[in-house]
């Protein structure tokens, strides 16, 4: 089962929850850090990273001897990454989305694909409180590169369908977040009880409804704001599965790269119960489908 931890607003506690769930789990699991622009889960998990592989996208290179400057590639390219002017064809690889269209359309077979590195994937291991193995995977986008989705997709290729997998997702509701949550069995939306938290939660809820993925809400820093998130969830019949109280001990522990369970060890019971409740939600969603 794949559980994605997401949020509309950044900094609501996605990584705090994802890492704490991984540590609380009572079976061997996978933790995938899909927030490739700013991956942070390793800071709390302190995994032993043993392998690194590059993430590449395929960009076209031109064989000028074969190219007749017919311009068909530039006409097809929706991203203006290739242009033919007079008797010259130019490629702007930083605009390329790797759709492969130019290569398919070239009548002279003058374009070939060449890998370009845009990030990397680290893999390693950590341990849960029970001593079970946590397989840890982290994706990192190289600085100056714009396209996070290919790195996120590569991270997700490491999913073992036979294990419980937790995905720590990027914030927001656009391409990176959607790429990360696509294919998940369940999404936990982490929010905080503030106007910003509520506003961005609503956006995330609409996104998940559009994508038709079952989800529930976790309120972090409960008590720091008002009741509007609770009211919204009950009005919209969204299960609110967990509240993590606003506690300066959590913030201080977090600042030292210590997880939620270091600050509030008693929460382990609630987190294990949460995993159980997600199981039930997913089973119920599958029943309603069949």
């Amino acid at each position: 089962m794949k559980i994605a931890i997401a949020s509309g607003k950044g900094g609501t506690g996605k990584t705090t929850l994802a890492t704490a769930l991984a540590q609380a789990a009572t079976e061997p699991i996978q933790l995938l850090d899909c927030d490739v622009e700013e991956p942070n889960a390793h800071i709390f998990m302190k995994p032993q990273l043993t392998e690194r592989e590059a993430v590449t996208i395929a960009i076209p290179v031109l064989d000028t001897d074969r190219c007749t400057n017919c311009g068909k590639c530039g006409e097809l390219c929706q991203f203006n990454a290739i242009v033919t002017i007079a008797d010259q064809t130019m490629i702007f690889s930083d605009l390329c989305h790797s759709c492969g269209g130019c290569i398919l359309v070239c009548p002279e077979k003058a374009l070939q694909e060449q890998p370009k590195t845009i990030g990397y994937i680290d893999t390693g291991h950590s341990q849960s409180l029970n001593g079970d193995t946590i397989t840890f995977v982290k994706g990192t986008l190289n600085i100056g590169e714009a396209m996070a989705p290919p790195v996120i997709k590569q991270v997700k290729k490491m999913v073992d369908p036979n294990q419980l997998t937790i995905l720590d997702c990027p914030p927001g509701t656009s391409c990176p977040m959607i790429t990360a949550i696509t294919g998940s069995d369940f999404v936990l939306l982490v929010t905080e009880p503030t106007p910003f938290g509520l506003h961005d939660l609503k956006l995330a809820v609409e996104t998940l409804r559009l994508m038709d993925i079952p989800f529930a809400v976790v309120v972090n820093r409960a008590g720091c704001g008002d009741n509007r998130v609770d009211d919204y969830c009950s009005d919209e019949q969204i299960p609110l599965l967990l509240q993590i109280k606003d506690d300066r001990r959590v913030a201080t522990a977090y600042s030292r790269a210590e997880g939620l369970l270091t600050a509030l060890p008693e929460m382990v019971t609630e987190l294990r119960a949460l995993l159980g409740r997600i199981d039930n939600c997913v089973a119920a969603a599958q029943r309603s489908l069949s």
Binding site: G11, T15, E37, E38, A146, C175, T207, S255
Partner: protein, 291 residues
């Protein structure tokens, strides 16, 4: 005219609350909310939307079911897993990259490619000045282009009203939207927090600003949560060539003000409000901005 972008790398460090406070303190500025994925600044600035415009970006594939023979060409060529095989085949809009490969190679020419509406942008008035903001449609792509558009419209507005300064609330991360929000700006102010994650993300953001050669300033919010880490961040940021402009103490009143729809500097003489005023003044002096 100067463009100042406030970003954070990591989300939730207080970027929007602080940008809105700066907006309240400024007298000569136009505001732009470039965090189009999760635009929150309007919750504090309460803009009255004067005009709204659709944001059209690129095209999206759509299979005309009548003529689809299920030949699978589109599915075999699509690199974005955006084709759902079936009878008929369909396109998953949230996965479609808009590359047009399926449209071009469909042997039945039965895939349409209409322009895609991806959101809306607004030009509004707030109690502190004019503002440009936007909302990306649910599941829509290309927030980077919308960011560029919001910035451009803010520049147009600043020119029209002869404003000397554009204050931009930037997006989190280091990817496409951040690059779109920061390239060519006069300065970037990074709001961070004294945590290991905050430091980690700050250093990645500073690599980005160095890469694009944008002067960077930093400010540590909630500094007293971990004073040692605050010092560590200050040193690390200065080693990367960033200028340190100050710290803001942890202040629950920021949340209270937010609930009341006010910026912290309007809410009262709180400890955070005073620190933010000091930072604003020193930042304006250093950058020679109209205060």
């Amino acid at each position: 005219m100067k463009e100042i972008v406030i970003i954070s790398g990591k989300g939730g460090t207080g970027k929007t609350s602080i940008t809105a406070a700066f907006a309240a303190l400024s007298t000569q500025a136009v505001f732009a909310d470039c965090d189009v994925d999760a635009a929150d600044m309007h919750l504090l600035l309460a803009p009255l939307s004067q005009q709204s415009y659709p944001f059209i970006s690129g095209n999206i594939a759509r299979i005309d079911a009548q003529n689809c023979t299920g030949c699978d060409t589109c599915n075999s060529l699509c690199r974005f897993d955006a084709v759902r095989p079936g009878s008929p085949y369909t396109i998953i809009p949230s996965s479609c990259e808009g590359c047009g490969v399926c449209v071009h190679f469909c042997p039945e020419k039965t895939i349409e490619f209409p322009p895609q509406r991806c959101g809306q942008w607004y030009q509004s008035e707030t109690r502190f000045g004019s503002m440009v903001h936007a909302a990306l449609d649910i599941g829509a792509e290309n927030s980077g282009k919308l960011v560029s558009l919001v910035r451009q419209e803010a520049r147009n507005l600043a020119e029209k009203h002869q404003r000397e300064l554009i204050l931009i609330d930037g997006p989190p991360g280091i990817g496409c939207p951040v690059i779109a929000a920061t390239t060519g700006a006069n300065a970037v102010l990074v709001i961070t927090e004294p945590t290991c994650s905050g430091k980690h993300d700050l250093l990645r953001v500073l690599e980005l600003t160095n890469h694009f050669d944008i002067p960077a300033y930093i400010c540590v919010n909630k500094w007293d949560i971990n004073p040692d880490m605050t010092e560590e961040i200050k040193t690390a940021a200065q080693e990367k060539g960033a200028t340190f402009v100050g710290t803001i103490p942890y202040d629950e009143q920021i949340t209270t003000a937010q609930i009341e729809g006010k910026t912290i500097v309007e809410w009262g003489d709180t400890i955070a409000a005073n620190a933010i005023k000091k930072i604003w003044n020193s930042f304006c002096e250093q950058l020679d901005l109209p205060q």
